[in-house]
Structures are given as structure tokens and as C-alpha cells.
């Protein structure tokens, strides 16, 4: 049954070293074209009726775009989105954090209760951690098909959600504002780690362009179209103007981008053997496509902020690329020198924070900039790669899990729009993956066994997808991204459960088949 390896897909030949650039260029070109088509919208808005301002109560960004000063350029400028105040739940993390450190001492008579709650909370955490690692509980999780949901860190999201409630009173607005850098560093970490993975895999060969295009474009388009349609239906305005609204186009692109990305754990879940790295390579390029999508969204849909440069979208895209490469070179200069383990961890963390901060200043995506820096870094020679991998793995759990707690705290669970989006997002994504693979199998010489196919079509939503939507929420803190974040988080949990059921089914089928034989 197993392995007719994807001979078309993976080439170890160095003579094909130009192909990565070609594929990346094509992916960029495809997404740029979509964004550029959408960029006609603000011109119409500028010429026609402009609806600046916001609908603060509903937490929804006003559709339409203003014409900010400094935008009259001969080159087509990036789409400058209308100003929108951040949704109340995420305001502490995006607002100007100058006066957040208000001392909120607990009154003397409330202290015993607050203290008891804190200690009980810590005890509860330890109990949960103990139970989480207990063999019987792990077996039960597997039986119920929720093991992956647990190990993917979703409980930390729930923890953040609970800690933000007024009853718990742990993650207050002030504290959340202080955790802002942690979240940005967490996003940078996810991007950097993905970049290092991508850069490490790149010299080993890449999948055929047609394969990558099919497996990423189909879920991207299907999710963007179907989820976008639901987004429109929820606003109650299905006019041509609404379809051309840059905020709508941006939201649909974000959903599509998140839908195209797949968790790297997919292969392990389906226990698929991948001796030539064909599936891994495809999954890696899906990540790269997600990054490209995010880069284009951040470049072409500019939040209205105090950034002094007003540039066309393509210039922002090139700036992103240049910044990522520059930071990669600086990271190389720093990391090439021999260091001890803890120093390497320190430098990795510092460089990731620097990438995230620099990107944030320019209102670019920290994930994208850190990804480019990480990918470029590992392509350079004489880098202590083993040390880098060790440093990243040391940082992984603390940075990622703490970021998830903050993400949970930002989750607007009461927003019904998110819950409406969940089934559409989940189903359209799975359908898109299936469709994409079918097209790839037809148009390319890609050959996969059933487990490998399952690993691609039934792939769970990775942390990168969640990071992409959270990053979008930080870039565009107006209300319309909140349901998208909710949809991707809950969709992620649902997909994990579906994936577990599918993997068990696949294993049962395999066992039955072996029995018959």
C-alpha cells in the first residue's frame, strides 16, 4: 500500500537551487495580484461616498475609506483603512501603553480572600498539570479523541479566557497591557521558528510549483469565498460596494490565509511514513504561503497610524522583505560567534523580540519579518544550527504557551459572529484541502498513499494559522477581526477532534485491511 514516493515533488539536486526562488516569486505574485485587484476599492471609495468613522457600539469597523493627508501620489498607494478604535477586549494590548501601570492594591479586608484565590489557583494549575500528565488521563484523552486538542495548547487559551473574567480578576487590563510584548515576541517566535524550519528544508528540495499552488490556493479561495460570504451576510449588505469594501476584502483574505496553513504535526497524527519528505515539504510550503499571504495583507492594507512613510503596497512588501533579510544578516552576525547554551537562548529571544518590535513599529507583521529573518539566517553558512534548534526548542513551550494565555484573554467569546463563522470556516477549509489535493494529483506527478493524503487533506490548523489571525487583530484592532480570531481558534479545536476521529478511522481501516490480507 505504502510509498510510491513523490519523485516529482522532492529533488535533492543542487542544480535545482533556483526553483525555491521561482516558487516563492510565483506565490508572492499570485497573492499580490489578488491584493492589487482589491486595491481598486479605495479609489472608488475616495471618489464616491466615503463613510469615515466607526460603529463603536457594535465593535464593527466602518466600511469605506477616507483619504488621509499625504496620500496624493502618482504611484498607487497602499489601501489605507479607515481609523477604527480597538475592540474593548483587545484595547489594553494595542492602545498606547503609557499610563497602564496604575497600582491597584487590594483593600486590606479583601486580602485573605484574594490570597486564598491565588493559592487555590496555583494549586489548581498544579493539579491540572499533574492530571494532564497522568497515564490514565492521557489514555482517556486518546479514547475521547481530544489528546491533540490538549497537547496543542488549547487549554492555555481557555485558561487565559478564564483569567480575564472579572470573577477571577487575574488578567486585568493593566496586566494585559504589560503582557503586550510577550504576545508580540510569541508571534515573532512562531514566525522565526517556521522560518528556520523552512530555511533548513529549502536546500533539500522543493515540491513542484503546480502542487504547491493547488494545495494552497484551493483552500485559500474556498475559505475566503465562503467565509467571506458569511461575513457579508452578517452585515446584511450584499451590494457591489460592500464586495469592494477594503475592510471586507482584507477580512476575507485573512480568513483564506489562515485556512491555507496546516499544522506540522499532521504526519505524526496519521502516522504517515514520509521517507522522501514529500508531504513535509508540501506542509512547509503551505506555511510559507500563509506567511506570504500575511505579508501581502500587511503591505497592501495599511492601518491608519502614525507611521511617517506613505508608500505603495508593493514598496511596503519590498520593505518587509528587505527588513527580514537585514535582520537575518544581523542575527547571523550575532549567532555565528561561539556562545554557551544560556547565552544562545538569550540572543535568540532578543533577536526575535527585536524582529517583532521593528516590524510592529512599521505596522508590518512580526510573524512575516521574523520568518524571513529565520529563513535567511539558516541559509547562511557556518551557523551553529544544532545550538539554534536547541535554543528554539527551549523557548518553545514557555513562549508559545504564555502567548496562548494572552490570546485566550483577547478572545471575544460572546461575539456570536465568531460562532456563526466556525462551521463555515472549518468545513470550507477541509473541503478546500481535499479539492486542492485532488487537483494537485491530477495536474502534477505527485503520488501519495492514503495516509499521506489524509495527512494533507485532514490536516489540523496549526499554531501559525492562529498566530496569523491574532497578528491581524493587532494590526487592525477594530472589531471586525474578532469573529475571525474566534472562528480560527474554535475551528482549530473542532478540526483537531475531526482529525483525531479520522486518524482512528484510518488506523482501524488499515488494521482491518491487514487482517483480510
Amino acid at each position: 500500500m505504502r510509498i510510491r514516493a513523490g519523485t516529482d515533488d522532492v529533488s535533492s539536486s543542487c542544480s535545482r537551487s533556483r526553483r525555491p526562488l521561482l516558487v516563492l516569486s510565483c506565490a508572492f505574485a499570485l497573492l499580490s495580484a489578488i491584493a492589487m485587484c482589491a486595491s481598486a476599492a479605495p479609489v472608488a471609495s475616495q471618489e464616491g461616498a466615503v463613510q469615515p468613522g466607526t460603529d463603536e457600539d457594535a465593535g464593527v469597523e466602518a466600511r469605506g475609506s477616507g483619504d488621509p493627508p499625504g496620500m496624493q501620489m502618482t504611484a498607487r498607494p497602499a489601501i489605507v483603512l479607515p481609523p477604527a478604535p480597538p475592540a474593548p477586549r483587545i484595547a489594553p494590548i494595542v492602545d498606547e501603553p503609557t499610563a497602564v501601570r496604575a497600582e491597584k492594591a487590594v483593600a486590606a479586608h479583601d486580602r485573605p480572600v484574594a490570597l486564598s484565590k491565588t493559592i487555590l489557583g496555583l494549586l489548581g494549575l498544579i493539579t491540572l498539570a499533574y492530571l494532564g500528565g497522568h497515564a490514565r488521563v492521557v489514555a482517556l484523552e486518546r479514547k475521547l479523541g481530544i489528546a491533540q486538542v490538549i497537547t496543542s495548547g488549547f487549554p492555555f487559551i481557555v485558561l487565559g479566557l478564564l483569567a480575564r473574567t472579572p470573577t477571577a480578576g487575574i488578567l486585568t487590563d493593566e496586566l494585559l497591557a504589560q503582557l503586550n510584548p510577550l504576545l508580540r515576541v510569541g508571534l515573532g517566535y512562531i514566525g522565526f521558528a517556521a522560518g528556520v524550519r523552512f530555511g533548513t528544508r529549502l536546500p533539500k528540495g522543493i515540491p513542484a510549483l503546480r502542487t504547491v499552488a493547488a494545495v494552497t490556493t484551493a483552500p485559500f479561495l474556498l475559505v475566503a469565498l465562503l467565509s467571506g460570504l458569511v461575513l457579508l451576510l452578517m452585515t446584511g449588505d450584499i451590494s457591489t460596494a460592500a464586495l469592494r469594501d477594503p475592510v471586507f476584502v482584507r477580512d476575507a483574505l485573512i480568513l483564506g490565509t489562515a485556512g491555507a496553513v496546516t499544522a506540522q504535526s499532521s504526519l505524526e497524527i496519521f502516522r504517515a511514513v514520509d521517507p522522501h519528505g514529500a508531504v513535509k515539504s508540501v506542509l512547509g510550503f503551505e506555511e510559507a504561503a500563509g506567511i506570504a499571504g500575511m505579508a501581502i495583507i500587511a503591505a497592501y492594507f495599511r492601518p491608519q497610524t502614525g507611521v511617517t512613510w506613505q508608500l505603495p503596497g508593493t514598496a511596503w512588501l519590498l520593505l518587509t522583505l528587505g527588513l527580514g533579510v537585514t535582520l537575518g544578516v544581523m542575527a547571523y552576525a550575532v549567532m555565528k560567534r561561539p556562545q554557551q547554551g544560556p547565552e544562545f537562548v538569550l540572543l535568540s529571544l532578543g533577536l526575535i523580540g527585536f524582529c517583532a518590535g521593528t516590524a510592529g513599529y512599521l505596522r508590518l507583521s512580526p510573524i512575516v519579518v521574523a520568518f524571513l529573518a529565520g529563513a535567511f539566517l539558516v541559509l547562511l553558512p557556518e551557523l551553529p544550527r544544532a545550538q539554534l534548534r536547541e535554543a528554539l526548542s527551549r523557548l518553545e513551550r514557555p513562549v508559545y504557551m504564555l502567548s496562548l494565555v494572552v490570546i485566550g484573554a483577547l478572545w471575544q467569546i460572546s461575539d456570536w459572529r465568531g460562532w456563526v463563522l466556525v462551521p463555515v470556516f472549518t468545513i470550507s477549509r477541509l473541503l478546500g484541502k481535499r479539492l486542492g489535493l485532488n487537483i494537485a494529483l491530477r495536474v502534477s506527478a505527485l503520488q501519495l498513499d492514503s495516509d499521506q493524503r489524509l495527512a494533507i487533506t485532514m490536516a489540523p490548523i496549526g499554531r501559525l494559522a492562529i498566530a496569523i489571525v491574532v497578528n491581524a487583530q493587532l494590526l487592525y484592532p477594530g472589531g471586525s477581526i474578532s469573529p475571525i480570531v474566534a472562528a480560527v481558534i474554535v475551528g482549530g479545536m473542532m478540526t483537531e477532534i475531526i482529525v483525531q476521529v479520522a486518524s482512528r478511522q484510518a488506523m482501524n481501516d488499515g488494521a482491518r485491511l491487514r487482517g483480510v490480507q
Partner: protein, 441 residues
Amino acid sequence: VNLLMLLLFAGLTHATRSFVADGEPGSSGTSLAFGYLLVSGYFAGRAVSEIGLPKLTGYLLLGVAVGPPGLGLVSRPMVENLSLVNGMAIAMIALTAGTELELAKIKPLRRTVVGISAFAVLGTVVWLAATVWLARPLLPFFGELTTIQAAAVTLVLAIVLVAQSPAIVVALHDELRADGVMTRSVLAVVVLADLLVICLFALSSAAARATLGAGADVLHTLTVVGWEIGGSIAVGLVVGALLVLYLRHVKADAALMLLLTTFVVAEIGSRLGLDPLLVALAAGAFVRNGSQVADELHHNLQVCALPVYVLFFCVAGANMQTDALALVWLPATLIAVVRAIGLLLGARVGARLVGAPDVVQRFAGYGLLPQAGLAQALALLFSRTFPEFSAEASTLVLAVVTLNVLISPVAYRIALARSGEASRQHTDAEALQIDDAEQAR
């Protein structure tokens, strides 16, 4: 190369900041400062260690150079927003110090500790009080006070000014991997002095308020002090017990759990009126003396300690009031010199009287010189307690702290090197080898 890298990162940070209109930092400013200080702090530490100074002086100098009073690459809002890391760092440093407080090893040193504390710490309070009293003509805020009021305020200031810094002491011990009788004595003294200063400050400031006509509520003062010290120790023991439970039964992701614990101790502790330093210290001491998992705790702390230390000292440098030093340099220098002489002489006399080893007599005083967080916190508390002359008095205290922060780590590093106790601590790998060898025997 180190200087080149420092320049490179400073240049890029400056360029990045110039993208935003009006220098407004935006919510990304803190992330930029976080990354910039970590990377540049590393190179600053290396640069100064090459000329024989402690790395933490490099971190502090970098903070001063790029902080608000210096180049301004790290702005005031960025520094304020990194204060969460500060709280965690103090808790982490205290937890480390706690795990080094092994009662069995400290018990033989108790006479030394008491002797040094009495002569050096309490003795220096007297010296400092006399100096401040005599320097009144240089300090305008004493102008309108009566003799009784001036005496009371002088005493409070002397207590604030004598405060030590367990954070710097522990960081230097870690950096130089120092261990020995002097190292342990110094750690025990600075911890004890920390408790002493907190108690004395509460009592003397209540008395001073009474002389200024605000009335003294003795019971309230005792309750507050009792809660801060007793409550902190009690809560610390509970936190220590929880850590032992975790390290014994869960083990996985211990570094993450430690980060979470220090975060809770720093954030919730200060909101509840507890001293996060004491809470973490008590927790660490409980783990060391009440369980077998102290080495595991110490190892996990070291995994995540370096970034926290670097950031903490860089932010401490950026927070330094170098402009205050320019205003009150004469009395500040005078006080710093008297404090140094008082501590050095007091430690020597105290140690000699109790018959401490020669190395303790000669070098322990240098470990009492560093001053940082506690004195700054007390200066803040002082300005809240005495709003009548808060600005001038705080300026004086902060100027003294600035001088001590910059000079005393260097002095203590030299003392550690000369005492022969530097590089005596075993790394984890070495400890493992020793254990194996002992088992083999």
C-alpha cells in the same frame, strides 16, 4: 566587535524609531526595547568583562547610555512597560537566593551574620543619620522643619540609604560562580538586612509622620509591618510547598511553572501588600531546606535566569536618575562615601568581634555596598509618606543609589576575586560528575 555590534543595533533601533511620527512609541515600543536590550545587553556585558568589570555593570551602563536621560533609544514609557519583567526578575533572583540559604551551612555562620548586621548595618544607620544631620545646610528640604522633625526625618532617610541589594549580590555570585564562607555570610546578611530595613523604615516613618503632625497609629503600623513580613514569609512557605509538589509530581515544563510562579508572586504579591522579594526568598529557602528538589529548582531557574537578569539590570540602568546626581552631587557623594566607610568598617569590626574567618573580615563589607531596588522602592514610599518634601529627598536618595549601583558591583567583584571564592560554584555538569564520583566511592 562588541562595540561594533552595539553601534549596529543602536543604529537600527534609532532608524526604526524614526519611522513613527513624534517619536510616539506605539504598542510595539516595548517589544523593540525588550529585544534591543537583550541583544545589546549581551554585548555590553561582554565588552566590560573584557576589561575586568562585572557583566552586570555593562548591563547597567547600557541602560544608562540608551535610557531616557542618555540617548533616549529606550524611552520612559518603554522602561515603565518593562516593569513587569522587573517584578519577575526580583522574584526570580530572590528564589535563587532562597535556594542558596541552606540552614545547615548558615547555622555555623549565625554569629558572624548577627555581628556584621549589628555593626555594619545598624552602625551605618547611625553614621548616615549623623552625616545627613550635618549636611542639612546643603539640603533645602530641611529648612522649615523643627529640630525634632528634622531628627525624625533624618533617621528615616538614614534607614532608606543603608538598604542593600540582594539582587546585585546574587547576580554577581551567579556570574562569578562564587561560593564559600564569605559569599554565604554576605548573602545571609543582605537578606537579614532587607528584613531589618523594611521593619525599621515602617516604624521610623510612622514616628516621623507623628512629629509632622499627622498622628501615629502604632497598631496600624505594626499590622502593616506584620502583614508585610509575616504574611510574606507565610505565603512564601506555601508557594515553596506548591513548587515542591510540582517538581516532585509533575516535573514537566518546570521552567514554565517557575516563570508563572514568579509572575504571580510579583504581580499578586505587590497588590496584596506583600513583599515579593520576601515571598520568593521564603519559598526558595523552603524548597532548599524542606525537600530534595532544590537542585532541580536551581537548575530550572538558571535556564531562564540570564534573559531576566540582563533585562532587569538594563532597565535598572535606564531608570537611573543621572540628572538627579547632577543636582545633588555634593551631598550624595558625601553620603555614599560615609555609607561605604560605615559598611566596610562595621563589617570588619563586627566580623572580628565574633571571631569570623579572616576572609570574611576582609571582604564581607564589599558585599554590603551594592544598592538598587529596595532603596529605590523605599525612596518611592518615602515620597508618598512625606509629600511635603518628597521631590528633593527622593532626588537625594536616587542620586546615592545611582552612585552605588555604578561603583559597588565593581568593588564587590574585585573582593570576590581576591577572596578566592570566585569560580568555586560547580556547574550542573561538574556537580553531576562529583555525585557520580561519590556514588562510585
